[in-house]
């Protein structure tokens, strides 16, 4: 009925040959469309993952950076006023809303060497979009960057917990002598690519050397 040389047999043979040897244009187009959809989904998934990772990176860096900077600054304030020779070292030689100068006699020679780590300045600097800078003598280091104007706030409290407000300038010497606690607030912005994250932390430091005066 369907001999090898007959028309029906040729059709079948051609049909089988085509099916085994390749794809029709329709099959190729459909396959390409499906592959494109799968690849697009994969790329989108990757894009979301990267966005999440960037956000996490920025957020953790902001929180970690602010926490570290506050810990460093708080430690400086805690040990300010060290005076083993009792020569009358002043713990706070300047106290403003965005700048504090802390002094101590670390080597016990009876004097404060302003060019060494015996003088620590904590201050906000407007350079490079705002930074929290720590000076050790004449050396300076940014301990937190992308700190906007007003992002660093230093507050001073006496032994009774009453705030001593510097006002527009700095605290007068009489008020600086009453300071027993320094409170710090820091607002840090961190960027990872186009993603930005902000962290606002607080810290406090009791001036340890003034506890013995009680």
């Amino acid at each position: 009925m369907s001999g090898r040389g007959g028309p029906c047999g040729r059709d079948v043979a051609r049909g089988i040959g085509l099916g085994q040897g390749g794809f029709t244009v329709l099959e190729l187009l459909l396959g390409a469309l499906l592959a494109t959809l799968v690849v697009a989904a994969g790329v989108e998934l990757l894009r979301v993952q990267v966005a999440v990772a960037r956000r996490l990176q920025a957020s953790l860096a902001a929180t970690g950076g602010a926490g570290w900077a506050l810990a460093v600054a708080a430690r400086d304030a805690q040990v300010a006023g060290s005076d083993p020779r009792r020569t009358g070292v002043v713990a706070l030689s300047a106290a403003g809303g965005e700048r504090a100068v802390l002094e101590s006699d670390r080597d016990g020679d009876g004097a404060v060497d302003a060019a060494s780590e015996e003088r620590v300045i904590l201050a906000w600097s407007p350079s490079a979009s705002g930074r929290f800078v720590r000076w050790l003598g004449s050396q300076s280091m940014s301990i937190a960057s992308l700190v906007r104007a007003g992002g660093l706030r230093l507050r001073y409290f006496d032994a009774a917990g009453t705030e001593l407000v510097p006002g527009a300038g700095e605290l007068p010497a009489a008020d600086r002598d009453r300071v027993r606690r320094l409170a710090l607030e820091l607002d840090v912005t961190e960027q990872a690519g186009v993603v930005a994250a902000q962290a606002r932390l607080r810290a406090a430091a009791a001036l340890r050397l003034r506890l013995e005066e009680r």
Binding site: S2, C8, G9, V12, G15, I16, L18, G19, Q20, F23, E27, V38, A41, G42, L45, V48, Q49, V52, A53, L56, S59, L60, T63, G64, G67, L70, A74, F157, A159, A160, G161, R180, R181, A183, A199, R200, L201, R202, A203, A204, A205, A206, L207, R208, L211, E212, R214
Partner: protein, 131 residues
């Protein structure tokens, strides 16, 4: 016989339902794994952020107690918000601990999100809160 041959040809050129389901399952599994990983990372980030805020809040209160006059140190509690994290703080002032003439200060901060966490800081300072 020729119909069977054509049927076989079609079967070999396309995918079976099982093959398609397995392929979809693999793609879906990859999506689920990626999403789960992202959610877990976000949760960890939130936990780390809350811990930093809780630690800062406890440390702040401890320094406040250390800096206060001995007679002004009192046990108490309060609620504060630090970097968007609500933190409850409880502090205790214990005279003559860990030794005579010293005061033990304990500050515990607690936050509920993403999970309930307690953190306690302890310090000892000279003096007594009561004469």
């Amino acid at each position: 016989m020729s119909r069977r041959a054509i049927g076989r040809g079609r079967s070999e050129a396309g995918f079976t339902l099982l093959e398609a389901l397995v392929a979809i399952g693999l793609v879906a599994s990859a999506g689920v794994v990626a999403t789960t990983a992202a959610v877990a990372m976000l949760r960890l980030e939130r936990a780390a952020h809350a811990e930093a805020a809780g630690l800062a809040a406890a440390s702040e209160k401890l320094e406040e107690l250390v800096g206060a006059l001995p007679a002004d140190r009192r046990s108490g509690n309060d609620d504060t918000v630090l970097d968007g994290v609500p933190v409850t703080r409880v502090w205790r002032v214990l005279d003559d601990q860990p030794a005579q003439g010293l005061t033990r200060l304990e500050v515990t901060s607690r936050w509920d999100r993403p999970q309930l966490t307690l953190l306690t800081l302890v310090a000892a300072v000279p003096g007594r809160s009561t004469p």
